[in-house]
């Protein structure tokens, strides 16, 4: 009994401990820059979680990160490190907008479903390229997915300024608008668009898939030891393709939501670095889809607090970058503590 308790307590203590340590470190940093750390934390809390508006501000920023984090977390089960979320978002958004424009008379529900599918397929195919190159050509997936980000952004910019440009989008080259009727609304009673729900649902589905199905079990085996998986007759190549595709689909969905819930068009704002932020979320959540949800909310909160920090303490925007850096360094460092902790306790008990 105490042992299982220890097991549950360990990650909790480590996370709380590392958050405390990083807050102390960041406090020292802020203090040395001449601001009062206690006031800064108070402001950050108010801006991120203090009021219901703050919560909405935080959650709206967290929503895309949940989806882009899956771009890195899912392939992580196979031992792959994919950092191509940005490309998946961009391709998803672009293709979602393009298909919506081909169906001007269809009812919104049909348009939105098609858009979601198109976005997911586009994002999925984009990350699948990285997975396929890895499996069939042994091209390192981290680097290829990074390069694919730049290529996707170039494609987006090229297409929205040429073939698919709405001539009316004068000073901000974009595709045509998908139509107000086709826009996704907000969750009743809030200011949040449905992206948050999609994000949470996607994380839960991903968690169920990876932890409670044969498919997930097979992936974990393949991730642990490719040779053992091959001996056991597991189709490693197919697993890689399917998982990369699912991961990219999550990113593509995030891109589709940017178009369908916010911009109504595809343009260069799709490249908003959600993909890169998602990588950190995935690493800090240790690739666990359920843990992604709170981590994304934490990061969303930090980002939401940037504005008020600037306005009330005249700190530069980079302050929150430093804070994110410190928190994530400490949390990644704390990875080494797992296991040591309970061993110490056991020794103490015996």
């Amino acid at each position: 009994m105490p042992q299982t308790l220890n097991k549950a307590l360990e990650p909790f203590l480590i996370i709380v401990g590392s958050l405390t340590v990083s807050m102390v470190l960041f406090g020292i940093f802020v203090a040395s820059a001449g601001a009062d750390p206690f006031e800064v934390y108070q402001t950050m809390y108010r801006a991120a979680f203090g009021t219901s508006f703050s919560w909405q501000n935080t959650l709206v920023r967290a929503a895309p990160l949940m989806l882009t984090a899956l771009c890195t977390a899912l392939p992580g089960y196979l031992g792959l490190i994919i950092i191509g979320g940005e490309g998946a978002v961009v391709m998803g958004g672009l293709f979602a907008a393009i298909v919506a424009l081909t169906m001007p008379t269809a009812p919104p529900i049909v348009v939105l479903t098609t858009m979601a599918l198109a976005g997911m397929i586009a994002g999925g195919v984009w990350l699948m390229i990285g997975g396929a190159l890895r499996h069939y050509r042994a091209v390192n997936e981290t680097i290829s997915s990074l390069l694919l980000n730049y290529i996707a952004i170039a494609l987006l910019n090229h297409l929205v300024t040429s073939t698919f440009r709405d001539p009316e989008s004068l000073n901000h080259p974009s595709t045509h608008h998908i139509g107000e009727a086709n826009m996704i609304g907000v969750i009743p009673g809030t200011d949040l668009h449905w992206g948050l729900v999609f994000g949470i649902v996607a994380c839960v589905i991903a968690w169920f898939l990876m932890h409670h199905t044969v498919f997930g079990f097979a992936s974990q085996i393949a991730g642990g030891n490719v040779r053992a998986a091959q001996v056991a007759g597991l189709p490693v190549g197919r697993l890689i393709l399917i998982i990369c595709c699912a991961a990219g689909a999550a990113g593509g969905l995030a891109g589709m939501l940017e178009v369908a819930a916010i911009h109504g068009r595809a343009n260069d704002t799709l490249n908003a670095n959600y993909g890169y932020a998602g990588i950190l979320v995935a690493f800090v959540a240790r690739n666990n889809p359920l843990a992604i949800i709170p981590v994304a909310v934490l990061l969303g909160g930090i980002r939401a607090s940037s504005g008020l920090l600037q306005r009330t303490h005249e700190l530069p925007d980079a302050t929150v970058l430093v804070m994110q850096g410190i928190i994530f360094l400490v949390i990644l460092f704390s990875e080494t503590l797992y296991g040591r902790f309970s061993r110490l306790q056991k020794q103490g008990a015996s």
Binding site: N140, I143, Y150, L155, V322, G325, F328
Partner: protein, 305 residues
């Protein structure tokens, strides 16, 4: 003097050196780090931090070369921090790299605010094109001593890795940590040193950006040069001299887009500007194969497992 289409060639030549130099330093830094079996994805942060430090020190001291040195030292600190954190068990070096990228750029932006406005002293240039009477060629061959330093570092680093006891130690640690431990080598210390030295080089690469070309400190200064180091090293097959060729190639490819426009090839510039990325991906697809491991790859590297 009319140069017309020759201008494209001159721009690519000049661009190879001008744009290539920072790539050379970051890729040499990354190469050394990877030889010891670590990957540092945080060189983007190191580069930006180096750019800021170099500019600030040059401004305060009036000596751009002191700025370059301090940029290197700042990079060294960040590199050492990266590898110190990674030396603990089960800490993922790629993840730490991304966090370091955030931390380094954040710190540089935070501390660099007061340096966006003032103009710091610039690094001097050397005229290698005095023999020519074509002004465009003279300009293209106006280079900075750091480029020459980079060539020397590439050659020396290549030689040292191959022929010295130090180089052998680094390579053994990069090939197999277990074997290194069996030989009594201090694996962590060697890795920390290699990563710190790599950070030093990347910091210098950053100072080249802020103190020579494009000569500016701003928050938009780097457009992913540090991030690309990882790709360049694979391209260069973990050979320091290969880093030199690859960096020149990248610089030239990056100069192609604007120079084509200057002679009237106006279409598709987004695609032209993405050429370096497409080229690298194509190279990787062509040269990699599942049937054999790449020559020169350090086996301890997480990216190659």
């Amino acid at each position: 003097m009319e140069v017309g289409w020759w201008g494209v060639l001159i721009a690519v030549l000049g661009g190879a050196i001008r744009i290539g130099t920072p790539f050379l330093f970051v890729s040499l830094g990354e190469c050394l780090t990877e030889k010891s079996g670590r990957i540092n994805l945080g060189l983007e942060g190191t580069l930006v931090m180096g750019a800021m430090t170099g500019y600030a020190v040059s401004l305060h001291s009036g000596s751009p070369w002191l700025g370059v040195l301090c940029a290197g030292l700042a990079g060294m600190v960040l590199g050492a921090l990266h590898s110190w954190i990674c030396s603990f068990q089960r800490v993922n070096d790629i993840a730490v790299g991304i966090a370091m990228m955030l931390f380094g750029t954040g710190l540089a932006f935070f501390l660099g605010k007061p340096y966006i406005q003032p103009s710091a002293p610039r690094l001097p240039s050397i005229d290698l094109g005095a023999w020519s009477d074509i002004p465009q060629l003279q300009a293209a061959l106006q280079i900075n001593a750091l480029f020459l330093v980079g060539i020397v570092v590439a050659v020396v680093l290549g030689w040292m890795l191959k022929n010295t006891a130090w180089g052998l130690k680094v390579r053994v640690v990069g090939e197999s940590a277990d074997a290194a431990r069996a030989l009594g080598l201090p694996v962590d210390r060697i890795r920390i040193l290699s990563t710190a030295q790599g950070g030093f080089l990347a910091g210098i690469g950053g100072s080249y950006l802020s103190l020579y070309y494009p000569f500016n400190w701003s928050e938009g200064l780097s457009s992913g040069q540090g991030l690309m180091a990882v790709a360049l090293v694979i391209f260069a097959r973990w050979q320091p001299i290969g880093c030199l060729w690859v960096s020149l190639l990248w610089g030239g490819a990056a100069a192609l887009g604007p120079s084509l426009q200057s002679v009237g090839v106006t279409g598709g510039y987004y695609i032209f500007n993405a050429i370096p990325y497409i080229m690298t991906l194509a190279m990787m697809i062509i040269t990699c194969s599942p049937k054999r491991t790449l020559v020169g790859v350090p086996r301890e590297l997480t990216v190659t497992r």
